[in-house]
Amino acid sequence: AQNLVVNTYGGRWEKFWRSDLMPTFMKAAGVETTLDVGLGKNFVANLRAAGVAKPPYSILMVNENIASLVRAEGYFEPIPAAKVPNLASVYPILRNAEDNGVRGIVSTIGIGYRKDLVKTPPKSWSDLWSNPEFKGKIGLYQIGNTAAMLFLLMTAKLYGGSQDAIDRAFTEIKKLLPFTQADWSGTLSTMLTRGDVTVAVIDFPEIVALQKKGVPVEMVVPTEGVLAFEQSFNVLKNAPAKEEAYKYLDFILRPDVQEMMAKEFFTSPTNTRSKLPSDLAKDVPVSGDRMKSIFQFDWAKVNPQVAAITDRWNREMK
């Protein structure tokens, strides 16, 4: 079999891929892999510089919002159900039209806060606006990070009724100012740890990791629903190792592999057939039926506006 280039992020992601995922996949499928570590946007920059005809990857894992953009440019193709049997048991909300890409890993995003520094813990997203305790102590992401875009679109939905109510969302988020903007999860974690912020929009796996290190933080699944970093897996139209890519995707979607990720990595299993042990329920608060509570957005509508939104965020949120 051909060597398959597999991409992932750094830090704990890379560690998990190297020590667990890749050896297991090798054992299961007999495919040699090369791990490419980076950021979603660098992968895409590479892809676009290379062009549709000669992609450097066969399969690409990126956040769904980014994937949808590249998909529109014709880089990906639908995944044949026959080649990837596990596709069928993925939660329907995580599957795309024509199975052009599938969201295989989900890290849900809610609210995290410092138990010791917050008197009234938040229960819902709206508490961010209403609890005066939080004024100036809120941590959000910079607009370059997917989470910030998710938060914006959700605000539009909550306050304006639909994801299209971007203006309203801006108006509302500006009411949260001043808030601290982190460029990535690690920074936000540090700020929480150090008490520079006491409450943050942050993904749960990050909070769990902090708890394991003994930081007094707690997570809240907001009543309105949760956001999520959805890792979208896409097979390239002109993939140099297409068969191996299918095998890899099928492996990722396997119920047991999803359980393994949840255990080591605190992501929410995306396969309906996965069973989460009860002792994990506290660390992975959103799974099974609650997967429905993940906000979903139409990225095709957002993508053309990304530049304008970024621009506006740059100007207004400071």
Binding site: Y9, W13, E14, V37, N42, A45, G186
Partner: protein, 272 residues
């Protein structure tokens, strides 16, 4: 003017000056001291002051395959890039100083150009160019080219200035003693401009070892350099391993710098 009889006003002025200079040195050292102390932290977090002293994070580092690989890659890239930019830069400086006539200033500007252009834009330009020409980023080639481009001006200025300072009649003396042009270069010019070359190479190495934007875009698929690895690592994990890596790389570079000091003396460091 340095004796027993220095007037009081002079001594006071000297003391004030010395205090100012000392403060700048403290400023230079501050973040580095913080990082070294953090790497010795016994606790779980990258915090300051450290919660006890231990070497556990160095253990974690040496056990971390990804970091060790990244360090290896960075050393390899920096070494190759340094060799390339040194060879190209020395030859270029020789031409510009000793042979160029009318084009001298133009050529000098050209060789300094990579320093004048924003690194990130150069990186993107190169990325497109590499794919357009079919080279791509499957290999280290593009990354190396980028590093050589960025480090070339550092070698060039250092070597050029030591060539300017070197007396041209030495080469002629060698010729009149029967040395061919090549042997005159190897036996006389080269040893004499060695400090310039080593200084330039030192800069090239240190700069390449820490190059971020260029590496971010041009790194070969499946590889990573230390600054990238650190950046990616800190994105997700904020434990003192990152500080430990930095401490190790400070120590490694320090050894290199001390070696340079022993061979050519840091006092020969010049720039521009």
């Amino acid at each position: 003017m340095r004796t027993k009889r220095k007037p009081l006003a002079t001594r006071v002025a000297d003391a004030v000056g010395l205090a100012y200079v000392g403060a700048v040195y403290v400023f230079l050292l501050l973040p580095i001291a913080v990082i070294v102390l953090m790497s010795l932290n016994a606790g779980e977090f990258l915090t300051f002051p450290p919660q006890g002293i231990s070497l556990r994070w160095f253990g974690a580092l040496f056990a971390n395959e990804a970091f060790m690989r990244a360090i290896g890659t960075s050393l390899q890239v920096a070494a190759i890039a340094t060799v390339c930019s040194t060879v190209i830069g020395v030859a270029g400086a020789l031409y510009v100083v000793r042979h160029a006539t009318r084009l001298r200033e133009g050529l000098r500007m050209l060789l300094m150009l990579p320093l004048m252009l924003p690194e990130i834009l150069t990186a993107i330009a190169l990325l497109f160019f590499l794919y357009a020409s079919g080279v791509g980023t499957r290999t280290m080639f593009g990354l190396l080219v980028g590093h050589v481009l960025v480090t070339l001006p550092y070698v060039f200025t250092n070597v050029a200035s030591s060539l300017y300072n070197q007396d041209g009649s030495l080469e002629q003396a060698a010729r009149s003693l029967g040395a061919s042009p090549w042997r005159a270069f190897v036996r006389v010019t080269l040893p004499l401009i060695k400090p310039g070359i080593i200084t330039g190479a030192l800069f090239a190495f240190v700069i390449s070892f820490d190059l971020f934007n260029m590496s971010l875009l041009l790194k070969g698929i499946g590889m990573t350099t230390l600054p990238l690895q650190l950046f990616d690592y800190l994105r997700w994990d904020f434990d003192p391993t990152a500080a430990a890596v930095s401490t190790v790389s400070i120590v490694v570079t320090l050894v290199a710098v001390v070696w340079v000091d022993r061979t050519v003396g840091l006092r020969s460091l010049r720039f521009g």
